[in-house]
Structures are given as C-alpha cells and as structure tokens.
C-alpha cells in the first residue's frame, strides 16, 4: 500500500504534463508517442472545423463506404456466430444473409464511386500518394474478400465459382496454397483473416487522411509561405 501511494513521486522525475509529446525523451516508447502525437492529435482525428469545400458530395462516398462496411461486419458476425448451415435452414438466417449480401453490394458501389471521386479530384496530391495506394490495396483486398465470400455460400453458386476460378489461380501456381475447392480454407480466410486485414487497412487509411487533412482543390494549390504576407489571392 505504502509503495503504491509512492508511485510516480519522490523519484526525482518531474510528473508528466498532460499532452506532453515526450519532447526530448530518449527511448522507443517516447519516439512512438512523439510520432503519434505529432501526426494525429485528437482534434485532428475528430475535427469540428473543415475547409468549406468538404461540403462537396464527393466526400460523402468515403463515409458511406465505412457505413456499409459496418453493416457487412455486423451481419457477417451474426452469420459466423450462428454457424454455416443456419441461413440455409432458417428464415431469420436467410434474412441476415440478405443483409450481408446487400451491404456488400452497397460497400462496393460506394467504394468504387469513392475511387473515381478520388481519381478525378487527384486525391493523391500534396504528399497523399500513400493514402491513394492504401486505398488501392483496400480495393484489391475487398475483391478477394468478397470472392472468398461467394465461395463459402454453400450453394450452387459457390460450386460453380470455385470450379471456374480454380483454373486462373492454378495457372499462377498458387492453386495448391489457395485452394478454392477447399471450403475449410476459404471459410477461415473469409471469416477471419481478410476482415481483420480489411479493418486494419481502413483504420490506416483514415489515419492517413486525418493526419494530413483533405487535399486542396485542383487549380487552387498550396503555395508555401515565403514570408511575404501576400497570399495567393485567388481564394481570398
């Protein structure tokens, strides 16, 4: 007891000030905290003010993609929990399968709209190339995830898709390691590995976006402050 109450005091180390970014402290932990703190203070994760141009409809697509993904994950969790035969034998199960199915369709529609929106707005400018690249990886990972989902429906479609897709995968030499005819393997990949990867990538993507802020419109570029007080004028 007496030791516990003595924690953090009397050691000669000054108590940490709230919000300190471990300025000047040595060590890996301090380095990580400096990095996180510098890149992503809470006010940037949850902003209350944004550039006025964020009112454009194009910014809706990314948010709606997240919303659809939420329902994909929720309905998928219910399906996984109830077991793989449930939705073939129960009306409620089938309804949850429908929710999963249509959330996925929504997810893809809005992700593709988001992709095109980002392309035509050249969202990779001003140091955002990595955000775009993680986006593309998300797109590709989503496709593989959906594909494994179609394979584990346990109906005629799954059989047909598996039998047809095997040749393309076999041709790459990967067929022996990613065997689309192996339900157990595809089930694990679809229900666990890929959803986790997808979720982590989405978090990374959002952190990338929030840490830099949305990109300025094309034709109204950022001009580094050269010390002169005059600004670019155009956007005044």
């Amino acid at each position: 007891m007496s030791e516990a109450s003595g924690l953090g005091s009397g050691t000669g180390t000054p108590p940490l000030a709230a919000g300190s970014s471990a300025e000047g402290e040595p060590g890996w932990t301090a380095a990580v905290r400096r990095r996180l703190d510098g890149r992503l203070p809470l006010e940037e994760v949850l902003p209350t003010r944004q550039p006025a141009f964020v009112g454009s409809w194009v910014y809706v697509f990314g948010v709606v993609t997240i919303a659809a993904l939420v329902w994909v994950l929720v309905s998928g969790t219910v399906l996984a929990f109830m077991g793989s035969a449930w939705w073939h034998t129960s009306d409620l199960g089938h309804f949850f399968n429908s929710i999963h199915f249509w959330s996925v369709q929504m997810f893809f529609i809005f992700m593709v709209l988001h992709l095109w929106g980002q392309y035509w707005g050249a969202g990779w400018r001003d140091g955002r190339a990595k955000t775009w690249m993680v986006g593309v990886v998300l797109f590709l990972v989503s496709i593989v995830t959906a594909f494994t989902g179609y394979l584990i429906q346990q109906n005629f479609d799954s059989q047909w898709i598996a039998v047809n897709a095997k040749d393309a995968i076999n041709a790459t030499g990967l067929g022996g390691f990613f065997n689309v005819l192996n339900f157990g393997q595809m089930y694990g990949i679809h229900v666990m590995l890929f959803p986790i990867a997808l979720t982590l990538l989405v978090v990374l993507h959002i952190v990338q976006v929030r840490s830099r802020g949305v990109v300025r419109p094309i034709g109204d570029p950022y001009v580094p402050d050269t010390g002169e007080s005059a600004s670019t004028g155009a956007s005044q």
Binding site: T48, F53, D157, W160, F183, G213, I218
Partner: protein, 318 residues
Amino acid sequence: MNGRRPKIDKTDYYRGIRMTPYDLIKEISIATVGILVAVLILSAVLSSPDIPSATIQAWAKSDPVDFVTTAASELAGQTTTAQYGPPYTTGSGSVQSIGPIEPQVWAGVHVAVNAPLDFVLQPLSQATVGDQTLASALTTFNNASAAQQQKWLATYNQALGSAKLVDNEVSVPSGDYGPVPVLMSRLLTLARSGGLDALLLTSEHFYQTDFSKPLLFLSDGGYFPGLAQAQDLTGSQWGMMNETGRYPGQAWLWLFTLWYQVPPIGSASNADLLVVVVMTVLSLGLLLVPFIPGLRDVPRWIPVHKLIWRQHYRSMTK
C-alpha cells in the same frame, strides 16, 4: 531530437481557404443509419440467392448416362481432372504457360488427385462389403494389365455412345468390356444412394472440409455445366461475375471477365494466365497512378473537378 510535426502545418496548408463548422460523428451516424435502412429494404424486398448445391447423388439420379460416361472416363484417366497437371496431377492437360514461364509447373502437385483411384476404385472397394460380384469384378480389373484395362474401357466408352436407360440401369450393346459394366453399375447405385458424395470426402481424418475431389469429379461431367448454363452462369455469358437469378454478382470483376471476351486473349489456350498477367499489370498501374505521368494528369485535362468543387471555384472567382 525534436518532436516530429507534420511537414506542412494545416493552418498553413489551408491558407486562404474558408473553414466551416463540421460534425464528423453526426455525418457518420446519419450514413450508418441510412445504409441500414436501404439494406433492410433491399433484403426484405429482394432477399438473396440460394440455389441448392449440386450433388453427385442428384447427378446420378437425373442423368445416369452422363454420370457413367464420366466415371468410365475417370477410370480410363481421360477426363480433364485426370490429365490436369499441377496442383492435382503430374500431367500437363491444363497447364498454362507463357513461353518458358510456367509457374503452374514450378509450384508442383499440392492437392494430389488420382482420378481412377480416388473417384472410382477406392470408393468401390469400400462398398464391397457383402457384395461378392463387385469384389471379384474389382479383383479382375485390378489384376488385368494396363493395356487390357484400357481396351475394356475404350470399347465400353464407345458403346456408351448408344447407351440406353433400361429399368433405370445404363444398358449398352453387348461386347467385351470385362468387369467394367459391373463396376459402373455398382458405382451408379452407390452414387444414387448418396454414398459416393460421402466417400469422396473421406480421408484419414474424421473432420472434413475439403471438397476438392467431389467438385473436380462433378466438373468433369456434362450435368454440372448444364445446370450452370440453365442459370446463365457460363463464361461466354460473363459467368464469373453473374449470380443465379437476376441478382447482382461480383460486378467488380467486370474488367477481369472482359478479357475473356477479347478474341486473342479469350481464345488462347493460356487465357487464364494471360488475363491474370494483364490484371496484375493494370492493378499495379492503378496503385502507381500518382507516379505515372499522363495517368496522373488526366484529372487536370478533363476537368471533372469543376463539378466536384463547383462551389469552391465559384467563391474563388468572386
């Protein structure tokens, strides 16, 4: 070392741009509820597809001649699966390569399938209990020379061309088929009972989740593709991205499927490999758009951004 700060401070980055209040959490909440409503409506009104899976039992019952023809070809080692090549066999029937680049061969056999043994002889030998006729037919077949086996099977396969269903049995004109008709008739009975579906799943383990063998067997026959044809699912009908019924399938595979409709690629014997290569290159292109001159400039040349940020540009000209 100093604490790292973003290279460009945001207040600096947004210099000259009007900032407005913005409620992120509210926007996400509204989107989440909105999508849920849309999805619930779609699910209630349109449901989702669930065409029951094909079984070997259903195949043997509804098209016994096709089943027996396929089984006899498996026994003769003449089906697509029997001659496939890696990852199933050491053959080369379905091996694709581009010149000296043959990843399929390099990877080797990892899901070994021995068509005559796995699809016919092994299941039959498990069904010999109490069936002396089958047991001796199997012994006769196994003891015969490979040449003799092939001779029986060749004549039998030819005779199957004029096979008829008599008393629900596949009947062929009489000829020298050795023990083959007995084997086939027993396999048909086994398949009709549903026993073959189960026997194709067994291995040394108790738990089974690998459907490679029954799926490969099904895909060698005419019955399974016939079902797909009836559902508009085949390749020439943009198969892979379609769903049964009128449901949207994997529409996002449109570009992948498109290449199969492009003559020089789609008609090539290594079409799959070519399509994979093309798609890999295109995916890399998409990944690297920010760095590819031309591709990254299109958005400036074709000013869709005028629509995206219309409000902003309007306020700029004021």
